[in-house]
């Protein structure tokens, strides 16, 4: 059976956010529309990371398949990485839906200004978000108190990552928080390459930051994986809640 919750996160919510943003921001001219399409698509990507990748281990636990996965010769981290890669790649369709909607229904002429840079940005974005998803997945299992904040983490990242408005309008003390979030650098790279023709040297910074954060997330995730599996074996809670 299709999980309608996923359909909502990938298609319906980004679309409705795009519609609202078109009304709120659209009067800035046609140039704002591609910004809105990319920004609302990013909300779908983040929802996928937060709710699908974040629950990727918890769900195995609920369905009683985690023990079998841990017992396999393939490391659990590799399996979860593959799952998260599928989730985030699938969520890219939110951008396509928002693009089609703005283009067909609203009739806006849409074009990606730097297609090659945009495609590279998408690839780097996906990989860095998958790494972030690994951290969330292990954190949510290790500390249920963190998972209780899952719903509450949705909009704050929309804000801090500057999906639909620049972080320059936020108080200055929030800037470091934005800088440690891969979604922020993803938004910078995708907005830059879709709305303009950036110099290669300009766009290398967000790519490098995503790569750096991705590696850091990966190290953190592998440490958390070891900790989680050790704790689950000691407490015999692999299949527990």
């Amino acid at each position: 059976m299709t999980d309608a919750f996923i359909l909502f996160g990938i298609f319906v919510q980004p679309l409705l956010i795009a519609i609202m943003a078109l009304f709120i921001l659209g009067e800035q001219g046609d140039g704002a529309v591609i910004f809105i399409v990319v920004g609302s698509g990013l909300t779908g990507l983040w929802d996928s990371v937060l709710f699908q990748s974040g629950n990727s281990i918890t769900r195995e636990r609920w369905t009683g398949t985690l023990e079998a996965l841990v017992g396999m010769p393939t490391p659990l981290a590799v399996i979860v990485f593959g799952k998260n890669l599928a989730f985030v790649t699938q969520a890219l369709s939110s951008m396509i839906v928002a693009y089609s909607f703005a283009s067909i229904i609203f009739g806006y002429p849409l074009s990606i200004e730097s297609p090659t840079l945009f495609v590279i940005s998408v690839v780097v974005t996906v990989l860095s978000l998958v790494c972030l998803g690994l951290v969330l997945a292990t954190l949510f299992v290790l500390n249920p108190d963190v998972q209780r904040w899952q719903n509450g983490l949705e909009f704050p990242v929309f804000i801090l990552a500057g999906f639909l408005f620049p972080i320059a309008i936020l108080p200055q003390w929030t800037t470091p928080l934005s800088y440690v979030l891969a979604p922020y650098w993803a938004a910078v790279a995708l907005h830059m390459s879709s709305s303009g023709k950036p110099d290669i040297l300009e766009i290398i910074l967000p790519w490098a930051m995503m790569a750096l954060l991705g590696v850091l997330y990966l190290f953190l995730a592998f440490w958390l994986f070891r900790k989680m599996l050790f704790k689950a074996r000691v407490d015999a809670t692999l299949s527990g809640q």
Binding site: M1, A4, F5, L7, F8, V12, Q13, L16, I17, I19, M20, A21, F23, I24, L25, G26, E27, Q28, D145, R148, W149, Q150, N151, G152, E154, F155, P156, F158, I159, L164, F165, P166, I169, L170
Partner: protein, 266 residues
């Protein structure tokens, strides 16, 4: 007389127990994340987008719209889950097996969520005043409270209808989420109603919240309750229509379930 007392007891017991059952698994951190921090983030997101945008609406437009719309957290999610919970937890057959008055049982599911929803809106306004400088100096607080109460009631009416739907579908989260976000688009919380296409304005006109949000803006702007009374009467009427539709669906599902021998009406 004893029947009336029994129904009153059923109403309040059902109200309290369904709320406790829904939130039994919660810890204060979940409540704070969902009902305190989440609404703040929603208000901030749309207010900041509005500030960045050039639609001509003031920051107060988004603060008030979203603060009132937050009532849908309780009105839509809370009420729906109170009804759907009976299905998930396997208590639906017992519910339909009792001789208890159905209307009392049905309405009881919404009561605590109305109170909780009003509290949520007040939290939203508190954020608006303390963090975003919402000015309530021209506001009649009792009139605003009354508007919040009426709007929460009508939104819970929609919640009862969606809750009845949750007895015949597994995709309750999809329905709830879609309803919540459609209200964000169509109720006037983030887009002025007169900017919507005529067809969507017609939809907006039959939704709860639309009149509540407009009335709250008017009250905060200095209007008296007398001025928004017609809109509030309409809002109550809309709430009652949704409740009646929800109740009819609830009874129909019960009949269907009995006839088919599938008390989950699948």
């Amino acid at each position: 007389m004893s029947k009336v007392i029994a129904n009153i007891r059923l109403f309040f017991q059902g109200a309290v127990l369904s709320y406790i059952a829904l939130f039994a698994w919660l810890r204060p951190s979940t409540y704070i994340a969902t009902k305190v921090v989440g609404p703040l983030a929603q208000i901030l997101f749309f207010t900041l987008m509005g500030k960045f945008g050039t639609s001509g609406e003031s920051a107060d437009f988004y603060i008030i719209g979203n603060a009132i719309q937050i009532t849908a957290l309780s009105g839509i999610y809370g009420v729906t889950f109170s009804l759907a919970g009976d299905r998930w937890n396997g208590t639906l057959p017992y519910l339909f097996g009792t001789p208890a008055n159905r209307m009392t049982m049905f309405l009881g599911r919404a009561v605590i969520h109305i109170i909780d929803g009003m509290f949520g809106v007040l939290i939203g306004f508190a954020w608006g005043v303390t963090l975003l400088g919402l000015d309530l100096s021209n506001t009649d607080p009792w009139a605003l409270l009354l508007v919040i109460a009426v709007t929460t009631f009508s939104t819970s009416g929609l919640g009862l209808l969606l809750g009845s739907l949750s007895l015949i579908t597994r995709n309750v989260m999809f329905i709830n989420n879609t309803a919540y976000f459609l209200l964000l688009v169509l109720s006037g919380s983030n887009i002025a109603i007169d900017r919507l296409p005529p067809a969507l304005q017609a939809v907006s006109n039959v939704l709860p919240l639309t009149r509540g949000i407009a009335s709250a803006r008017a009250i905060i702007d200095g209007a008296t309750f007398r001025e928004v009374r017609p809109a509030m009467l309409e809002e109550i009427g809309i709430g009652i229509i949704y409740i009646v539709c929800g109740y009819v669906l609830f009874r129909w599902i019960e009949v269907l379930a009995r006839r088919r021998g599938t008390l989950e009406a699948m």
